[in-house]
């Protein structure tokens, strides 16, 4: 008798990564706030430290519709155009 595999692997998609910055100094910083409690506070503190250490400047902040939703296309375009480095990924 046969054993039937019920699983599916995630669909592989090619993703073109932006070039890594050679130096953190003076980068334009993008923030993605997923709306979880205190995520805005944590991101702001991070940005303050990065500004103090590396003279980074927050140039764009994206506040997602909810933690369940992706950053929308307009938000992605803004991050791509206005930031050299983006911080995301706030959990519980």
């Amino acid at each position: 008798m046969k054993l039937f595999d019920p699983t599916s692997k995630p669909v592989e998609r090619a993703v073109a990564l932006a070039p890594r910055p050679a130096s953190p100094r003076g980068l334009r910083l993008g923030l993605v706030d997923n709306t979880k409690h205190n995520s805005d506070t944590l991101l702001r503190k991070l940005a303050e430290r990065l500004a103090a250490r590396h003279r980074m400047t927050v140039t764009v902040t994206n506040r997602k519709r909810s933690p369940s939703h992706e950053v929308d296309e307009a938000g992605i375009a803004a991050l791509r155009a206005q930031a050299d480095l983006v911080i995301s990924g706030i959990g519980d």
Binding site: L3, P6, S8, V11, S66, S68
Partner: protein, 350 residues
């Protein structure tokens, strides 16, 4: 697929599915070429067809994988159209799958089935509607969860981060009374025709049974619902919420006898499901100290009447109903999908 030598012993085959990590903890029905083909055929599907996708998770649900899981769950082939409609609901952007599927809140995927398919398949809408004892109820909900685990990568500890989970995560499927109802059935209230069959999916991580044996009119009865839906431990108090309410027999009769419409019930609950801002602060559900005015400032739980979905199910006897708060402050929304049991299902709506 692979061959196993122990197949002469059916239990060995079941064990092989355990060993592969493909079960929900209960034994599965080992599929065969014939059972998979029959399951696909019952929904008018080819194995390669795409049932839905979750782009943000690089997930695609292919019909053959859905059929394998449906057989494993113990479904008869004719249940497959219901499973397919439920999968399409999961993949609807309005449902926003990632949150309710992966949250620490551990939601059940609650399926309410309406329409002619209910009687044809024998889906229980009566006594013990949420409980054990009926094959379609037990296995259709189970198939959806197995598909989530196996075909949508939503495994406990990986992309299912439930802190406690709940027993409804094994299976949660019931039918609504279509012919013993104070109003039009749920799917009709959501835009479909009475002669159509449909599945309504809502993610809920709580099931509160609501008891009242003395109420003879709707207001005192509905105050019990309002209180249950606004308790300080409820997960979704800070933003507007969506919920499912299920009236059982005696409570349905109270509403029917008073000639209250669905809109009357929804309007009453929108008005009365609320807490004072001071309650939120004392319970640390909102930060800050109680300030002047907080004792008389009300926060309402529901924004709009149609955020309160109402279904009727359960036995005729007993003073019990239920409320199932939706997950996530409307980040996810209930989705109703038409079942096409002559072929694949279409016509989803949020």
């Amino acid at each position: 697929m692979s061959e196993i030598d122990e197949a002469a012993d059916p239990a060995a085959l079941i064990e092989a599915y355990y060993d592969a990590g493909w079960t929900d903890g209960l034994p599965v029905v080992p599929p065969s070429d014939a059972s998979i083909a029959a399951t696909l055929a019952a929904a008018g599907l080819q194995g390669h067809e795409l049932l839905g996708e979750i782009p943000g998770r690089n997930t695609e649900v292919i019909a053959e994988k859905a059929a394998i899981n449906t057989v494993m769950a113990g479904c008869r082939p004719e249940y497959m159209p219901v499973v397919v409609a439920a999968v399409r609901s999961l993949c609807d952007p309005a449902f926003a799958y990632h949150g309710p599927a992966s949250s620490t809140g551990g939601s059940a995927m609650v399926l309410v089935v309406n329409g002619p398919i209910v009687k044809r398949l024998g889906i229980n809408s009566g006594n013990n509607a949420f409980g054990q004892g009926h094959r379609p109820n037990a296995t259709i909900g189970r198939a959806v969860r197995l598909i989530m685990m196996n075909a949508m990568n939503t495994r406990p500890g990986f992309l299912d981060r439930a802190t406690l989970g709940n027993p409804g995560k094994y299976s949660f499927c019931f039918a609504e009374h279509d012919d013993d109802h104070p109003w039009e059935p749920l799917h009709v209230s959501r835009g479909l025709a009475r002669h159509e069959s449909a599945v309504t999916l809502i993610a809920s991580n709580s099931l509160y049974q609501v008891y009242n044996q003395l109420a003879a009119t709707p207001p005192p009865l509905l105050l019990c619902f309002a209180d249950a839906l606004a308790n300080m431990g409820s997960p979704n108090l800070k933003g507007f919420n969506q919920t499912l309410i299920v009236f059982a027999g005696e409570h349905s009769d109270i509403v029917r006898a008073a000639k209250w419409s669905r809109a009357d019930v929804q309007g009453f609950l929108v008005e009365h499901t609320r807490r004072r801002l001071a309650d939120f602060k004392r319970a640390a559900r909102i930060p800050g100290a109680v300030a002047a005015g907080d004792e008389t400032t009300w926060r309402h739980i529901f924004e709009r009447p149609d955020d309160i979905l109402i279904a009727c199910a359960g036995g005729r006897a007993g003073s019990w109903s239920a409320c199932l708060p939706g997950w996530g402050n409307k980040w996810t929304r209930a989705v109703t999908t038409r079942i096409d049991d002559a072929g694949s299902s279409h016509g989803r709506q949020a």
